[in-house]
Symmetry: C2
Subunit: 360 residues, 2 copies
Amino acid sequence: MLYAVIPAGGSGTRLWPLSRACHPKFLHPLTPTGESLLQATIARLDPLAGPARTLVVTGAAHAVGVARELPQLPTGNIIVEPSPRDSCAAIGLAAALIHQQDPDAVMGSFAADHVIGDNARFAQVVTDAVAGAQAGYLMTIGITPTRPETGYGYLHLGAAVAGGPVRQVAEFKEKPEYEVAVGYVDSGAYLWNAGMFVWKVSVFLDELRRQCPELAAGLATIAAAWDTPQRESVLAEVWPTLPKISVDYAVMEGAAAAGRVAAVPGDFGWNDIGDFHTLGEVLPVDDHGNTVLTSGRVLLDDCTDSVVVGRTDRLVAVLGVQDLVIVDTADALLVAPRARAQEVKRLVDTLKGRGDGDLV
Amino acid sequence: MLYAVIPAGGSGTRLWPLSRACHPKFLHPLTPTGESLLQATIARLDPLAGPARTLVVTGAAHAVGVARELPQLPTGNIIVEPSPRDSCAAIGLAAALIHQQDPDAVMGSFAADHVIGDNARFAQVVTDAVAGAQAGYLMTIGITPTRPETGYGYLHLGAAVAGGPVRQVAEFKEKPEYEVAVGYVDSGAYLWNAGMFVWKVSVFLDELRRQCPELAAGLATIAAAWDTPQRESVLAEVWPTLPKISVDYAVMEGAAAAGRVAAVPGDFGWNDIGDFHTLGEVLPVDDHGNTVLTSGRVLLDDCTDSVVVGRTDRLVAVLGVQDLVIVDTADALLVAPRARAQEVKRLVDTLKGRGDGDLV
């Protein structure tokens, strides 16, 4: 039986102006069914974990939104961070709380804002990962690369271990140069690191204590106070002192060097909706390849392969463009070519820098 | 002494969604100085005619807007048509009213929504045209073509007459095919017909009576009642019966065939702001060739030669595009390449056809 942990943070700046600091990517209905990404994530994990064993870790700013989107989760399963301390604190707190209840538990950590194509295949891959976790490995679910993507980290696979499709992870590789990425993909020995992990909480916490004792100790203190009247005061005192570090850096890279990380390939159709270009790849298209996601009026005249997102009741009229992104929101409009959708992040930085932070 | 007549009608559908049926092109501040096109037209004519001899003929829907934009005009000089009956009725009514006051008057008719580059040169050309009008010709001010434009009619020039730069007009030519237009421009014997006319009102009214007696009679009836208590009832009775016809078809083409039309070349820098592409050619550009006309916030990142018009307080953020038109208004957004700016008219037709006429 699996515990599912969903760290739901990050604002998704490459999806600005749709995604905002106060209304992050995972709360948006960017799926073909109209569910939010978070709701779709929870639904996908339901057959594997179920509401009672599903924990969402989110920020104070999003707690209300998450609570309303997920009425099926018990109140105690929505864990609210006082402030963002990166992924290791979020995932580690969930691991510590689960360990208190069930020392032998296996947990999986899954991003709140990814889209999966084949949920049945996803469930099978997670089940394979659970087997590797039961054998004592910190498991990662890597994504079989479909292109030489330079925007992701890679997992370098080693020997087969623990039976089935499980392969040892020889090394975590940072985002590569393009030529290097081409070599990775051609070799067949690399997977994308998509930040999906499965492990026994006891194994993870041992490794956290070994590599990052200060963080492990802080989380243990908080977990011990969790079900007592001191939760709030301990959280307020200890949480801000926790090291701000990702779980990759804090635990996974060092554990891989020690031979304790393994992976299963995820060939279930995956998309992290990193930007509006990839959003267009995930959602249905019209006869001309256009993705239109709006509740308002739209007029497309001789447009192809474009992504039009409307969040106002204004008419969006587009004539004679191709491969263009148009995002129309109440207080900001974005126009950019799909090929440059990743650079939208820079616009957000520019806006912050010039005093237009109210729009971010 | 010249009388200036400005027929101010037409909604400028190729400038949708900025220009609307209820807020036409000539009332928009599309000039480098921030004046509306109508205000700039009146200011340009001021040294030639002055407010007392300047008449604006406009529709009921725009009468209030015109009155407020032109406080210097006497109340009686803003003539309000009960309904649109095309340009010959509008110009003919003004001619008939002027003739009643001053049978020897010379009047010029000028569009309300053109941009002129060199006002001093414009004044000289009009003065040359007045000389031709005094000699008895129906004068047109043609524009020296700068490209083989297929969207305009052309004037085929004949012999020099009446001294100075005045040339007889042998024929009015409809909008030509591209190859034909190239020949026109290369020959040097053609000017664009820009709908600017100068004539003695008596000569014009004679020609109108000869070619279009019904329209001439109706206008005479209205003019006779104009300064009487019957103006309103006569206007209501007669105006709707007037033939709906342009002054080109009703008078100028037939007059040219009879040898009564002449032209002076207008080499004063002219632009009819027919669409957003040409708007970008008229207004100042930034270092990257972008025309930005907005009172709100704008963020252009690596954009070139684009036209951005904002009429809301929303941020307009544009990344990595070139030669694009973006027009942001309260209830409609337009995105289109500059090269296809003329096709915006089709969008307006589509909107009307599908029941979105509230946005037109």
